[in-house]
């Protein structure tokens, strides 16, 4: 008999039910999905591409031809925003997975092995926490300018993981005293296998929630750095570079050039945070606001 796949896990169904009960979280998830569709499928439907110039329309207000108007150079604003949104979303996602991943490995190793592993990791965490990340990325930006934006993502996550790692470390400290971890150790399971198989899965709710919330904070970091010209470099476009290019028009009649990316950015971050909150309440009901249980 082949062991059949576990029954539809009742826990995941319970989590889903709890998540669906939170209307705002569902709305947030819907919005995030909408943004993905907008950013990745939008360009296939929309008439204009981000790198297409319309020489008939420079700095035009919204019209049926260009839904959100055009820039000074004749680029279509909506197409640019779609392109910028793509980059921001992908940076947020990769960065979040990366930083939560680093945090999980570093934190779990520090907590599980203790001794010098722990001391080195804690020292590194403390060091990175006191370094001004914004400044350092800004200084390093000439180094990676002209290369792929992935280096930028790497740098962003390198300054994002520390707090999470600390939480993971303390969770590991208490979890390694749990009897099922002892049981694995006393059968001779190797340490890394214990971490990967027993310790990390048992804090998966925390890691999932953390990764989700990291998405929005990474997007914001990216936008902030790009705004000052230290982040995503042309020819790449992100929401940050778009806002940087057009913020001066905010108070002019061409304000739409600024308001579209800015408004979508706020909405995106809000939506991601709503999903994160909803996930936390669904995965970890005791951490929420509580009330009458």
């Amino acid at each position: 008999m082949v062991p059949k796949k576990a029954d539809p896990d009742s826990r995941s169904r319970l989590v889903l039910r709890r998540f669906l009960r939170r209307r705002l979280a569902v709305a947030g998830l819907f919005l995030v999905a909408l943004f993905f569709v907008f950013a990745y499928l939008g360009p296939f439907v929309y008439k204009w591409q981000y790198n297409q110039l319309d020489f008939q329309a420079f700095l035009q207000p919204p019209s049926s031809e260009h839904w959100f108007g055009t820039t000074q150079n004749g680029f279509d604003m909506l197409a640019l925003t779609m392109r910028g949104m793509q980059k921001s979303l992908i940076i947020g996602l990769i960065g979040a997975v990366l930083s939560t991943g680093i945090a999980a490995v570093a934190g779990a190793a520090a907590g599980y092995f203790s001794g010098w592993t722990d001391r080195v990791t804690i020292a590194l965490i403390d060091l990175l926490l006191v370094l001004p990340s914004f400044l350092i990325i800004a200084i390093l930006s000439p180094v990676f300018s002209g290369r792929t934006w992935l280096v930028f993502v790497l740098l962003l996550s390198a300054f994002q993981w520390m707090i999470t790692a600390r939480v993971v470390r303390s969770m590991t400290l208490s979890m390694k005293e749990r009897e099922f971890v002892y049981a694995a150790r006393f059968t001779g399971v190797s340490n890394w296998k214990i971490i990967v198989r027993h310790i990390l899965p048992n804090m998966s709710s925390f890691l999932i929630i953390d990764a989700t919330i990291n998405v929005s904070s990474l997007i914001l970091s990216e936008v902030g750095l790009s705004f000052f010209g230290f982040g995503v470099q042309p020819p790449d476009i992100s929401l940050g570079t778009l806002i940087n290019d057009h913020w001066q028009s905010a108070s002019t009649p061409n304000g739409y050039q600024f308001y579209l990316p800015a408004f979508l950015l706020i909405l995106l971050v809000l939506a991601v945070n709503l999903v994160g909150d909803g996930l936390r309440d669904a995965l970890d009901p005791n951490a929420g606001i509580g009330g009458d249980r």
């Binding site: 062991p3 002892y182 059968t187 899965p201």
Partner: protein, 700 residues
């Protein structure tokens, strides 16, 4: 009797709303208690015993739906406002909770908290209230009460906190004290102290006591009448002797038959109650015990039996069973109803002990933990002498019980063994190999033969893994080919009495007893020779324990296993072990063959320990003379000089003269043979003297 009952509960039902449906926690419970009487309410977890007492106190959350009536001296309590109830609570009815740590506020001194309880209900000056608090602390046996009154709860030990709780409960001379599992969180010697204090409190205040517990032994000695609850309903009630000697409901019979007895030399068969208590959501109609009852008939599934008074076996003795009359007429015993497997001795038992191979040897094992202070500049400020030179050995196919109270070093000992590292001092020899010379590969190889079952089945199984992965882990680690694993897992499940289809389930879908069986299956996966059992049944409900104990015995017999059985429950140890080692503060106080140690204990600590354990036998329990130890286990970082037990020793305090005492203070007693110079019954006492504690029923 014409007197008015102190408390009369009739038709009390409590229902909680929940996501899955209403939870019927208590269903039509009726009982009464006369002034000065002690009523025991016995039941397993989830039987509604605590909820019903919280209902009496009016402490249930507002979403609970309560119906019926609770009359205190004729006045209805149900429906009264919280404010009105507050004039009764603490003054006329008071409560003692299970967990004395969370029952005291950590930021106020114990004296202040007791004084507060006084001040709420009595018009006294703060000064007078404090004096009263000191007086109460003295009454419950706290040494230096005036000084201790200004201590904070964390400076009190568990037993002292529970005494403080009792002091608070009797502060206003209540007429009724509800004690909800007052001794469950405590060690046996402390439990004996607390039970004695409760008895004293009852004598001074004349209060009636409702004693809620799952421990039939505790009830047997203390209560006048008892009510047994199951699935929210009383199933049997009556005078204590009637219920204990003539139980008429199969559940009570099974419960009484499932406890190993400390006072039985022979291995009596234990009657396990199959299955587990029902969920209180959507209870089927009919008797909730039906699925677990070997006497069920069709009617049981149709109609839930009412509590019916049986006249033949004592006045007021009532049972809720359709077949009580049959049980009564035939005077059935638990072994007549429940299948009680008779388990023989393992084959290896035929070989004399001395000729068998030793699977584990400890020689003067020492484990000290440094106490350090400071975060960056760590300096050693002391040492915890957790294990301080213990020697023992386990032969093939043998069960050694390692017993002692919390903090005696049992857990440290088994952790040292299981870690297989070189000890700070002394030797650990497993299957003839010394851990000192072991390489990583050697250790890995030893782990195949050495496995462990932990106390808490919930915590010892990874909640994220289905049973198949849990059982596959040791197989995979030790290189059993993937093709053979499934067959082995099925075999393992069958050995421990589970079914193959349980494989795909997660631990949380099992009951406590089943989970522990999965834990045992995991320990057996690699066909070990020595299994370390760390309190394997103490986290389980009473009715389920017997099944697990029987399983462990059967496995030992079938597979020729050797067990290191760590427990604080001496009755279980007497039932299962061949030899027993009693630990006190990191040292072995007494070691020897189990029947000899239990019938003729030579060390005063073993004697006190045996005497402290309540027997589920009311007559014996009332007649017994109890040795009550003073105080708590000393701090293991600062053990007493000479004999470590002397600070609490009844012999040291009562029988010895000054010269003899000096020897206890100066000289550490060594383990010496008690049964002839070559004997293997050893005790570490200068003045060891065998004394048949369990047979001493001559007393009051």
């Amino acid at each position: 009797m014409t007197a008015q009952p102190l408390l009369e509960v009739s038709n009390l039902s409590v229902t909680f709303p929940s996501e899955a449906g209403p939870v019927a926690a208590v269903r039509s419970l009726s009982y009464h208690i006369m002034p000065g009487e002690v009523l025991g309410i016995v039941g397993e977890s989830g039987s509604g015993k605590s909820v019903s007492s919280l209902a009496v106190m009016g402490l249930l959350p507002s979403r609970a739906k309560i119906t019926g009536s609770i009359r205190f001296k004729g006045a209805e309590l149900l429906g009264q406002s919280d404010k009105d109830l507050s004039t009764i609570r603490g003054r006329r009815i008071s409560m003692i909770f299970q967990d004395p740590l969370s029952a005291l506020t950590p930021v106020f001194t114990v004296g202040d908290q007791i004084a507060e309880a006084v001040l709420i209900h009595q018009k006294l000056s703060g000064h007078a209230a404090m004096d009263r608090a000191v007086e109460l602390l003295e009454l419950v046996g706290i040494p230096n009460p005036r000084q201790r009154a200004s201590a904070f709860p964390h400076e009190f030990s568990g037993g002292m906190r529970q005494r403080a709780m009792i002091a608070m409960a009797i502060a206003n001379d209540p007429e009724l004290i509800i004690a909800d599992e007052p001794t469950t969180a405590l060690d046996v010697t402390i439990q004996a102290q607390i039970l004695e204090t409760l008895e004293k409190a009852r004598e001074t205040t004349g209060a009636a006591i409702i004693m809620i517990t799952h421990d039939l032994g505790v009830i047997a000695g203390a209560a006048d009448r008892v009510t047994v609850m199951y699935a929210g309903k009383p199933v049997e009630t009556g005078a204590i002797d009637d219920v204990f000697y003539q139980p008429r409901m199969p559940y009570t019979l099974g419960l009484l038959g499932s406890i190993p007895r400390l006072d039985m030399a022979e291995r009596q068969p234990l009657t396990p109650i199959e299955g587990s208590p029902p969920s209180l959501i959507n209870l089927p109609r009919g008797c909730p015990f039906t699925p677990r009852c070997p006497m069920r008939i069709e009617k049981c599934e149709q109609v839930e039996p009412e509590l019916v008074v049986l006249n033949a076996s004592g006045a007021g003795h009532a049972a809720a069973c359709h077949r009580s009359n049959e049980i009564e007429q035939q005077n059935l015993k638990s072994t007549d109803i429940f299948p009680a497997p008779v388990i023989g001795e393992p084959e290896v038992g035929a070989v004399p002990r001395a000729q068998r191979e030793a699977v584990l040897e400890l020689r003067d094992l020492v484990k000290h933990f440094p106490l350090v202070k400071g975060a960056i500049l760590r300096r050693r400020v002391g040492t915890v002498f957790a294990v301080d030179g213990i020697s023992l050995d386990i032969r093939e196919g043998e069960t050694l019980g390692l017993v002692g109270e919390s903090g005696c070093g049992k857990t440290t000992t088994i952790m040292e063994i299981l870690n297989l590292t070189t000890p700070a001092s002394g030797r650990i020899v497993v299957f003839g190999k010394d851990t000192a010379g072991m390489t990583a590969q050697d250790r890995f190889a030893v782990r195949e033969d050495l496995s462990v079952v932990f106390q808490d089945p919930q915590a010892s199984l990874d909640p994220r893994m289905p049973v198949s992965s849990i059982l596959a882990e040791p197989l995979e680690t030790h290189g059993v080919p993937a093709g053979e694993r499934t067959a082995r897992i099925e075999e393992l499940l069958q050995i421990v009495g589970l079914r193959a289809e349980h494989m795909s389930r997660y631990p949380q879908e099992f009951s406590g007893g089943q989970r522990q069986r999965v834990g045992i299956a995991r320990a057996l996966a690699l066909k070990p020779r020595l299994v370390v059992l760390d309190e394997p049944v103490s986290a389980l409900d009473v009715s389920i324990r017997a099944g697990v104990i029987n399983l462990l015995e059967k496995l030992r017999m079938d597979l020729g296993l050797a067990y290191l059985f760590v427990a604080h429950d001496l009755s279980v140890v007497r039932h299962i072990a061949d030899r027993v080692a009693v630990m006190y503060l990191g040292k072995i106080a007494e070691i020897g063959e189990v029947n000899r140690v239990f019938s003729l204990p030579a060390h005063p600590y073993t004697q006190a320990l045996l005497s402290a354990i309540p027997l589920p036998d009311p007559r014996k329990e009332r007649a017994r003379r109890r040795i009550i130890l003073k105080g708590d286990i000393p701090n293991p970082s600062d053990p007493p000089s000479g004999c470590r037990f002397r600070t609490r020793c009844q012999k040291f305090a009562g029988e010895l003269n000054d010269q003899q005492r000096q020897r206890c203070i100066d000289e550490e007693p060594l383990l010496t043979a008690q049964n002839g110079p070559e004997g293997d019954h050893l005790a570490a006492c200068h003045y060891a003297e065998s004394y048949a504690v369990l047979d001493d029923v001559g007393g009051k």
